[in-house]
């Protein structure tokens, strides 16, 4: 019985000739003597035959087309997905290797900034030269007051003297507009340099408010044509002065200086700036004094004679509301003496500290006000 079970297990393979020769011989011997196993083999053969006799089924019509419709749909989908993944790949290429992208982008940024700085530096002298007269018109920051004033003085002195030079004016005009449009244009390092010098000369500077009212004036300057015809320029300047006076009236005593300065600027705006920047280029220092005097006219004469005694050049007197202004170019060595003498003429405000500058000259503006 046990032998029959073993034989029956092998019959499946025996049927197909898959048994080893020894197994085949053993099975054949057993089958000749065992009817049960012989019957089992016959049943197995019949079973396999029945199974093999099963008909093949035919695919439905257009089965390939149906399958391919699904496949093509899938292919189209995968193309879209593939496209999407390409987009993703591009995005990831743009953003993902941050350890590469960030330094590269940072370097590019630095390069651009450097380039802009270089370009700015290359055109800076032109801006500086052409815009010097209007620099004071730019919005005055508190720490730039000294610089503003230094620039103002030579401009005041130069303006009335110089005849309008068309060429220079033409050059300066667009530059001035540019200056007005970009009020922070003046190079800061130079401002700081000069500021420190002026502060050394004048430890008690005027209240910064004196030069503060820039925005309106700046706007006014933009309108005021600096170029000829002179008559029109003068008219504009007068208008500007009127604005300055109106401010003085409304803003009180501290604005007195401011209005004068504003007026100066207006005048400079109306006049050709040629001499101004020449003076600035020579490195003149500008010093401004205000003397309170009861008799403006006689005090002005005394100031003029004082200046001439001190060897000043380019002495001039001009009406300056609410009094007169005398200006000139004085050797720095004589500045201390000038201050001492001015003190004796009237109430000097502010009282400048004696300068220790031994060389060069200063443009001095002495305003005599009642």
């Amino acid at each position: 019985m046990k032998a029959c079970n073993q034989i029956k297990e092998l019959l499946s393979l025996f049927l197909e000739g898959e048994t080893s020769p020894e197994e085949t011989r053993h099975i054949t011997e057993h089958l000749s003597s065992c009817q049960e196993c012989k019957k089992a083999l016959e049943e197995l053969k019949k079973t396999v035959e029945l199974v093999k006799n099963l008909d093949e089924v035919e695919p439905p019509p257009f089965f390939t087309q149906k399958i391919m419709a699904h496949v093509r749909e899938e292919a189209a989908l995968s193309r879209v997905t593939g496209h999407g993944s390409r987009v993703t790949a591009i995005i990831s290429k743009l953003f993902f290797p941050l350890h590469i992208k960030i330094p590269v982008q940072a370097f590019a940024l630095v390069l651009v900034v450097g380039l802009v700085f270089l370009v700015y530096r290359s055109i800076e002298p032109e801006i500086k030269l052409s815009s010097t007269p209007t620099e004071t018109a730019a919005p005055a920051l508190k720490d730039e007051v000294g610089q503003e004033r230094k620039k103002a003085i030579p401009a005041i002195q130069a303006a009335p003297k110089e005849a309008p030079l068309k060429g220079q004016v033409d050059v300066s005009e667009p530059a001035r507009k540019e200056e007005a449009a970009v009020p922070t244009a003046p190079p800061r390092e130079k401002v700081m340099e000069k500021k420190s010098e002026v502060l050394a000369e004048k430890p008690s500077p005027e209240p910064s408010i004196a030069f503060a009212p820039a925005p309106k004036e700046s706007a006014q300057l933009q309108k005021a044509p600096a170029a000829p015809p002179p008559a029109r320029g003068a008219g504009e300047a007068t208008q500007a002065i009127d604005v300055g006076q109106a401010r003085q009236a409304t803003e009180g005593e501290p604005r007195g200086v401011a209005s004068g300065a504003a007026k100066d600027r207006m005048e400079r705006a109306a006049a050709p700036p040629a001499r101004d920047y020449r003076a600035a280029a020579k490195g003149f220092e500008r010093v401004e004094f205000v003397i309170g005097a009861s008799d403006v006219g006689s005090t002005a004469k005394e100031v003029e004679s004082l200046l001439s005694r001190l060897g000043a050049r380019e002495i001039e007197r001009e009406p300056r509301e609410p009094g007169v202004a005398v200006k000139g170019v004085v050797d720095n060595k004589r500045l201390v003496e000038l201050v001492e003498k001015l003190k004796s003429l009237g109430e000097l405000r502010p009282v400048p500290a004696p300068t220790d500058r031994a060389q060069g000259e200063s443009r001095v503006l002495i305003r005599i006000e009642p």
């Binding site: 006799n53 093949e56 089924v57 496949v71």
Partner: protein, 209 residues
């Protein structure tokens, strides 16, 4: 696929696989090449699926799914076996999965008309209707075929797969081993059990063999 020189030992040489060029074209995105493969293998695929499931419509769906799976995976086909073997493996797996789903559904929903009726004697089958018009000979053959098919369906999925592949599709043991990814011994023992179960089933269904 790669060149023969790069093939590992267990790979089928490309020269042996008649589908090498078509498969390579498919891998490069040639849908028309895939269509040729579908045309070539659809019938055999359908017959495997049909004999395993016993349902023609199910078999058609299984074949469609199998070809779709094959298309999706064809770039991963590296020629370890023949393409046809790989394809038959896919359809057998899909058929097995379908059977599991059906069994799970019928377990939850109850029996269907097609299910074998379990009796004390074992599975027997509902009498097919409208047989009167058919000739007796044809009637008998048809009846026998249906009973054989029902007996196949009474086997478990693993036995069914081996029986269908060996006795119906007549694949070699080696091919079956590759399709089912089973050791030789397992294929042989499963086939023995499948045949034995079929014999018992058919004896009950047909009375005598």
């Amino acid at each position: 696929m790669v060149a023969m020189s790069n093939m590992s030992d267990n790979r089928i040489p490309t020269a042996v696989d008649a589908d090498y060029e078509a498969v390579t074209a498919c891998q490069e995105g040639d849908v028309a090449a895939f269509e040729a493969l579908v045309d070539k293998y659809q019938k055999k695929m359908l017959n495997i699926a049909y004999r395993m499931t016993g349902d023609y419509d199910d078999a058609c769906e299984i074949v469609q799914e199998a070809f779709l799976s094959a298309y999706r995976a064809i770039k991963k086909f590296r020629g370890e076996a023949r393409f046809s073997t790989w394809l038959y493996g896919i359809v057998v797996n899909h058929a097995k999965n379908r059977l599991k789903q059906v069994q799970s559904r019928s377990f939850h929903e109850g029996t269907s008309l097609d299910d074998p009726v379990e009796t004390e004697e074992g599975p027997r089958f509902r009498e097919p209707l409208s047989q009167e018009a058919l000739a007796v000979d044809e009637l008998e053959k048809k009846e026998i075929r249906e009973k054989v098919q029902h007996c196949i369906e009474s086997l478990d999925e693993e036995q069914r797969a081996v029986l269908v592949l060996r006795d119906i599709q007549e694949f070699s043991y080696e091919e079956i081993r590759d399709i089912l990814k089973l050791p030789d011994g397992t294929v042989k023992s499963r086939l023995f059990r499948a045949r034995d179960a079929m014999k018992k089933c058919l004896k009950k269904a047909l009375g005598d063999l």
